[in-house]
Every structure is written in C-alpha cells, then in structure tokens.
Point group: C3
Chain length 269, copies 3
C-alpha cells in the first residue's frame, strides 16, 4: 500500500500533539469553517492577511495556507510577501488556486503564486488543468471535469513547480511527479457544502507542519479529511448537518475508524 492507515494516523497524531500554528491567508467565505476544521484537527489556526504583518506572522508559524477564493489586489500582494518570507525562513506552504480558470485576473494570480514555490497545491480538476496546461476553465469555482482527467496535468505541474499536487473530486489524486495515489474516501454530499475543498487545503497545511515529505503530508491530510467526511455524511440528512458533523468527526477520528474506512489505490505514472 502506498500510504498506510498507520502512516496517516501517525501524522494526524502529530498534528494533535504538536498543535502547529497554521497561518492562513484565505477567502472570506470559508474563514470560519477553515479555522474550525484546523481546530478540530488539533492545529492552532490564525487568519492574518494585512501586508503590514504577514511577514512577521508567517515567521512565527509552522505552515502557511494561501487561498485565492475572494481575491483582491491587496491580498495578492500580501500572499506574495508571505510566500517569500515562508520560503526564506523554511515554513512550508500550500496553495489553493480557487477558480483559477474563471477570469484572466484569477488565472494570472494563481500562476504567479504557483511559481513561488509552494510545497503543495490542491485544486479541483478544472483548477489544476488551468494551472498546468492553461486550459480547463471550470464553472465559476466548481469543476467541469472529473478529477482523474487532470492527473497527467497534475504530474506536469508537480514537475514544473516541485510541489505535491492534489486534485480533489469524487476520487482524490495526489502526485509529486514520481509517486501517485488515488484516495477513495469522501461522499458526494460534500460537494454541497461550500469550502470543504478549502478546508482540505488547510488540513494539508497542518500536515505539512509536522511532515516534511510533501507527498506524504498531502495524501495523509486528504485521506483523513475524506474519511471524516464520509463518516459525517453517513448519517447526515443534508449539507447543513454534514458541515457540523464533519467538524465533530475531524475532532474525534480514531485510529480504529480510520483503519476501517480508509481506501486507496497506488497509481503508476
């Protein structure tokens, strides 16, 4: 097995034990839910986005999350400052190129940030296709493509940027250009809750704080998140309950439940 349940559990326990400070520059839609997902996982989140302090703050942090969901020009500047400082002081960071292909403004911003050296990039198929191939427009912030269709693009993006690249959807794919894995947990109802992809990206940030291998950190984070989501959806009558139950499941996920539910496939590139 390319990534065992034991390996995932070990990183989740490390997040809970070390409670890493995760600095987020993220969008206004998901700030609350992202902070709550990180707290439920055991991390210590902070949302700090002013150019007057992002460099100071990222230097105190164990990971940085950059998400362009509700992009505006001051935020792009702050993201660039924070990413450069993170690189300088050795803080790993993850990029979420929300809606990358929807507009020229968003395409340019996501390409510029991807070129700055993230340890991981997570998007839906349309976003990863856009970043990798400069196509795949998407529908607003939702994907119009299956996640598998973007795997070859993800490999090329990983090669070009050096990042572990994750494509999330019905199945999640992670590759660093050498290794690749398909993660099969999750539930269709998760797509009816806004910003769960953004929360998954933040989870990657928390795992990068405790695991230097970006492929392992990214896959372990998405696996844990997918199992929690699947458990939450099992008894949810709708997306409102799912959102609440997901936080409970991230908080209470046990080694046993993870071992019972986790499903993956090794892929050859």
């Amino acid at each position: 097995m390319p990534l065992s349940a034991d390996a995932i559990w070990k990183r989740l326990r490390a997040v809970r034990d070390q409670q890493p400070l995760v600095h987020n520059i993220t969008n206004f839609v998901v700030m609350n839910n992202t902070a709550n997902a990180l707290l439920a996982l055991g991390a210590s989140p902070a949302m700090v986005h002013s150019s007057d302090e992002v460099e100071d703050f990222v230097a105190l942090s164990q990971a940085l999350v950059i998400n362009i969901g509700t992009l505006y020009s001051e935020q792009i500047a702050a993201c660039k400052l924070a990413a450069a400082k993170a690189n300088a002081v050795g803080v790993p960071w993850v990029l979420d190129p929300v809606g990358a292909g929807a507009t020229p403004y968003r395409r340019a911003a996501s390409a510029a940030l991807a070129a700055l050296g993230p340890k991981a990039i997570r998007g839906n198929a349309s976003e990863i296709l856009t970043l990798a191939l400069e196509q795949g427009q998407g529908k607003g912030v939702d994907s119009t493509r299956e996640s598998g269709a973007a795997l070859e693009a993800a490999r090329r993006l990983a090669d070009r940027t050096g990042a572990a690249v994750a494509i999330t959807g019905a199945v999640d794919y992670v590759t660093d250009g050498r290794r690749a894995i398909a993660l099969e947990n999750g539930h269709p109802l998760m797509a009816r809750v806004t910003g769960l992809g953004c929360s998954a990206t933040a989870a990657i940030g928390a795992f990068l704080a405790v695991e230097p291998d970006a492929f392992t950190a990214t896959a372990a984070a998405l696996a844990a998140f997918g199992v929690a989501g699947e458990l939450a959806a099992a008894s949810a009558p709708g997306p409102g309950t799912l959102q609440v139950a997901l936080l409970d499941q991230l908080y209470s996920l046990s080694e046993q439940r993870l071992g019972e539910k986790y499903r993956c496939r090794n892929l050859t590139l």
Copy 2:
C-alpha cells in the same frame, strides 16, 4: 391561486437541474451561509467582488446577487461595474439593500444601485420604505415596521424601477406593480438567525436564472425558502439548530412537502 405549488416546484426543479452559476457580491457576515443556501438549493454559487474581475465573472454567470450589508467604497464600485455588465449581457440581478436607511452613506448607495435596473429587490419593510419613499430608518439592519405597511411603497418602487419588489417579514409580500402576492410561510425564529434575508435574496437570484418573469421567480424563491424555514423551525430548539436544519430542508424539499405546507394570498393593488 396566484402562484401554485406546482409553479414553485417547477422552478425549484429547474434550479436543481440546471445548477445555475450565481455570482454574489455580498457581505462578509453571510458569505458562507449564502453559498451554502445556494448549494443546498442546487445552484452553483461564487463570491467574487474585485473590480478587477467582476465584469469577466458576471458574463459567465446565470444570475448576479448584490447585497450591501458590509458596504465599503471599493465594493460599491465593483457592484456598479457588475450591474452594468449584467445588464449589457442579459444576466438578471437582484438587489438586497441591507440597512438602507441607517446612514446617509447606505441610503445613497442603495438608491444608486436600485436605479441601475435590478430585476428584483428584496428588503425588510424599513429598507423598502427607505428606497421607495425616502423614509423608514429601521434599527440598524433590522426593520422597525411590519412588512404589510410597506406594500404600497413596494408598488411604487416596482413602478419606478421596473423590478419585482419583495418585502420580507412575518408575511412576505411580492409585487411587480401589477401583480401582488402575500406568502405566509416561515417562522418567527428565523429572525434570530443572521442573514436569512440575505440567503432569501440569493435564492431569488437562483430562481431568476431559470425563470425570466421576475415576479414569478421572486415569489417562487421566497415561497420555497419560507416553506424550508418553517419545516426547519418545527423541530429546532433554537436558532443554531434552525440555521443547520434550513440547509438540510432546502436540499431535501420535496414536491409533496411543498404542496402540503405552502400558503399564500392573492392581493389586489
């Protein structure tokens, strides 16, 4: 019956089938809940507010929602750009003049936007009185008037702007200047959850995307929203549970439940 349960159901099904992309320029308080309400209804929401991209984004969308809740000067500029582009490319849009009468700044912004040709306007009684008559100050963002008191004002506002105008409260009223209807679903506890009016406005946006007649779209959206809220409140011990249950009900609302619960009165102007 001025608007049958069948007519409402047909539009709700169209939203679920067509999954329209609904572009929102809205306030920071409700972004998450608005996105979740739209997803629960079956639409595809996006929150995009930078002047650098709103024109490009609205051109990809099937409807636009403008809400001035946490107004600031760059946002007013972005709203005007987006509204003008929406008009140019034939994308219907709805205005939510939150707290319209509370300050001169808010009064000026809401009047300017109302003059730009929204297909629908939704507010509480104080907000609609302010826009129509330049009175009715409200209490912050809450109304100090019953919704029925504003019906005549709504008719005048509809005549002046060409929009379908909705006044929501204990009873919701919708008029386009020729037709008028009173929608009697909902529950008092809904007033204890922030931003449900904003979610209702976003629902109008989703229905405008599938129904060109603005009066029908507006009334159908508010009826579906009111029934879902009433069902959610029936078993909610408080506003926290209600907010969650409302999303579940928007997601799972069936033709049968809608038919059983829907109540309206035809009005003559």
Copy 3:
C-alpha cells in the same frame, strides 16, 4: 457572592427586553457567529466597518464592539473614528485585542485602541499580558499562559485605562481594579471552536448596553456565556455540534438553569 445569579439574570432579561442595537467592527472569521450569538441573546447586531459610515452608525447604537482579529489599516482608522464618536455620544464600547502580542503591527494597534477609553477589554492571558505589561507574546491568536497568571496584569491595565478587564480561559477573571471575580463555568471543548472569545466580547457589548457598571456588565455577560457554553458542551460529541448548541443555549437559557449551573469565586486584589 460578588455577583449573584439573580444579578446576571436581571441583565440577561434586560438584553432580551430592550434588544439593544450593537454595532460591531470585528474580524471576518467570526462575523457570522458573533451576529448569531448576539441575536440568540436577544440583541440586534450590525456589522458596519466603513469609515464612511461608522460614526453615523455608532450614534444610532446602544453599544460598540471593536475586535482586531483580521486587522488592516482602513479598519484601524474606522475603529478609531467609531471609538471617538462612541465616547462623544456616550455609547459604551468593548475592545477585543485579538493576538495583541503576535506582531508589532498588532501590538501597536491594540495599545492605541486600549488608550481610547473602552469601558471593557476582554482577551486571553497572553493578550492581556501584552496590553498591560508589554510582554506575553502568545501563539498566534491563542494564549500560551493560564488566565490566572494575568490577573495582576489585568488589575494594572484596569487602573491605567479605566476599563473593566476580563481574561478568559479555563477560568474567566474580571476586574475593574477595585473588584475582582473568578467565573468558573465553561468547558474545555469551547477552545476548539473558533471565535467563541470574540462572541463573548460581543456579549459584553450587549450587556454594557443595558448596565452602566462595566464590571457588572462584563462579569454578567461572561457568566451567562460560560453557563450556556457548559450546557451546550454537555451533550456535544465535538466542536461542530458545540457551536450550534451554544446558540440554542444562549437563546433558551432560563433563570433556573442559570441558577443551577453558575459558579464563581470572589477575589481580593
């Protein structure tokens, strides 16, 4: 007993009866939850932050809440305008110096605001130590110190600013420099929900609107909030459910439950 359950209940009932308009200039992470907490308590919240209208808005309000969580330069300017106007028209205000010690930018902003005459200041131990003693850096926005360790600092800060100062944590402490109380309700799971401290600060704002003695208002608000949180946590499997149940408990808190659960200790300074 320094503050009786009866005294707390009387102020809570006054909030429910008077429904004070509480103007919030707060952070993007907690806007929704803060508004919902205020609505659940019975107050009428508004989130208004543009320098173009904060002075007009605060003059309509019964209390002002200033929270620097997601600070940026325009917001600092708006906070200063709003605080000055609040002072001029006699509207009480409360300051939440989120992450005060994390960066020089945040330290300067929180010190500047604390000097403007808030009636109350609420923070965690690190934040209060920073404001009082210019030390106690914290870990991002979380405290690295027990709340009791900051009590002497709180007393000095109260003396210097004239504000009632609250340090929240496993135990909450409130002092105005003369009186001091330890409030022992709450639950450890509350620390896993983002922004409950911010909601507690907003509750102080609502109680300041109905009670001129800032020490009594601050302690009563935190006591009611702590009891509601404890009741909510009692049956919550995780932080997602706790967040929802807290709103239900704030809404439905009865004199009897408050009397049964409330625990405090009088302190001598």
